[in-house]
C-alpha cells in the first residue's frame, strides 16, 4: 500500500477538523445564547419587552403613538439661559400635560384584579370561554 504524503494526510485531517469546527461552533453558539437568555431573564428586561410573543402592542396603541408624532412640536426646556416667569409658566403648562397623561392611566397595579372575587375563588364556578362556546353550540 502506498504511503500517504504529508499534504494528503493534512487533507484527510482537514475534513475531520471541519466537522469538529462545525460542532464546536454550534455548541459555542448555544452556550452564548443560553447565557444571553439567562441575563435577559434575570435582569428583568423580559418583563418589559413587549416585542415578545403575546406582548405585542395593540392596534389602537400604534395609532396613538403615530398621533402623538403628528401633533405639536416636542417641548424642550433649555438647560441654560436666563430664567423668566414666562419660561416657568410654559414649563408648568407642559409638565401638567405629562402629569395628566399619568393620571389618565386608571388604577395602575390596583389590588382588585387579583382579588378572590375577580379570580372567581369565592364565587360560582366559571366555565372557560372556549368550553362555554362549545356547550352553547351543542
Amino acid at each position: 500500500m502506498r504511503k500517504l504524503s504529508k499534504s494528503e494526510k493534512k487533507i484527510e485531517r482537514g475534513g475531520k477538523n471541519l466537522v469538529i469546527l462545525g460542532v464546536l461552533s454550534v455548541i459555542i453558539a448555544m452556550a452564548t445564547t443560553g447565557v444571553a437568555l439567562a441575563i435577559y431573564h434575570n435582569s428583568g428586561d423580559i418583563y418589559l419587552d413587549r416585542s415578545r410573543p403575546g406582548f405585542l402592542p395593540d392596534e389602537e396603541e400604534i395609532e396613538d403613538e403615530n398621533e402623538e408624532k403628528d401633533g405639536e412640536t416636542e417641548y424642550v426646556f433649555a438647560k441654560d439661559g436666563n430664567l423668566t416667569k414666562e419660561d416657568i409658566e410654559d414649563f408648568l403648562k407642559n409638565l401638567n400635560k405629562e402629569i395628566e397623561l399619568i393620571d389618565a392611566y386608571e388604577k395602575p397595579f390596583g389590588s382588585d384584579v387579583l382579588s378572590d372575587e375577580h379570580l372567581g375563588i369565592t364565587g360560582e364556578i366559571k366555565i372557560p370561554e372556549a368550553e362555554a362556546a362549545e356547550s352553547v353550540a351543542e
Binding site: G44, G54, F55, K79, K85, I88, S111, I121, G123
Partner: protein, 172 residues
C-alpha cells in the same frame, strides 16, 4: 408552679400557631374553586401580566421623560441662574430613587407572578393560594411606589409654583 407556666406557654404557642396559620388558610370550598377554575384563573393571570407590562412601560417611560426633560434641566438652569435650592435637589433625588424602587419592585412582582402562572393550580391549590398571597403583597408594593412617585411629582409642581411666585416678585 412550673407546670402552670408550661401550660400557659403551650397555650400561647398554640394561639400564635393558629393565628399565623390562619393567614394562609383557605377553606375547602376555595380549594375546590381553585382546582375547578384553574384554566380560567391562569388565563386571567396571563391577562393581568400583559396589562401590567403595558402599565410598567407606560409609567416608566413617563417618569423617565419627566426626570430627563423637566426635573434635571430645570435644576441645571437654576444653578446657572443662582436660584438653586436644597428642596429642588432633594426632590430630584427622591424622584430618582422612587423610580428605581418602582422598577425593582416591579421585577420582583413579575417574577412571583410568573411562578404563580406556571404553578399547577389543579393539584396544588393550597400552595397556589399561598403564592397568590405573596404576589398580592408584591403588587401592593408596586402600587405604593406609583403613589409615592405621584406624591413627589405633586411636590415638584408645588416647588415650581413657588419658584414662579419668586420670579414674579422679582420682576415687580
Amino acid at each position: 408552679m412550673l407546670k402552670r407556666c408550661l401550660l400557659v406557654f403551650c397555650g400561647v404557642l398554640c394561639l400564635l400557631t393558629c393565628a399565623t396559620g390562619s393567614v394562609f388558610a383557605i377553606s375547602a370550598e376555595q380549594k375546590a374553586m381553585i382546582a375547578d377554575n384553574c384554566t380560567v384563573i391562569r388565563e386571567d393571570l396571563k391577562k393581568v401580566q400583559r396589562s401590567d407590562a403595558r402599565a410598567r412601560v407606560y409609567l416608566g417611560g413617563k417618569y423617565e421623560l419627566i426626570l430627563n426633560k423637566y426635573v434635571t434641566p430645570l435644576n441645571v438652569r437654576l444653578v446657572e441662574n443662582s436660584l438653586s435650592s436644597v428642596s429642588f435637589i432633594e426632590n430630584q433625588n427622591t424622584m430618582a430613587s422612587n423610580k428605581m424602587k418602582f422598577a425593582n419592585d416591579y421585577v420582583e412582582y413579575q417574577q412571583r407572578l410568573e411562578e404563580l402562572v406556571s404553578m399547577d393550580c389543579k393539584n396544588e391549590s393550597e400552595a397556589f393560594y399561598k403564592k397568590l398571597e405573596e404576589v398580592r403583597t408584591k403588587r401592593k408594593k408596586v402600587e405604593q411606589d406609583v403613589k409615592e412617585m405621584r406624591n413627589s411629582l405633586t411636590k415638584f409642581v408645588e416647588l415650581v409654583g413657588k419658584l414662579k411666585e419668586t420670579l414674579n416678585a422679582k420682576t415687580k
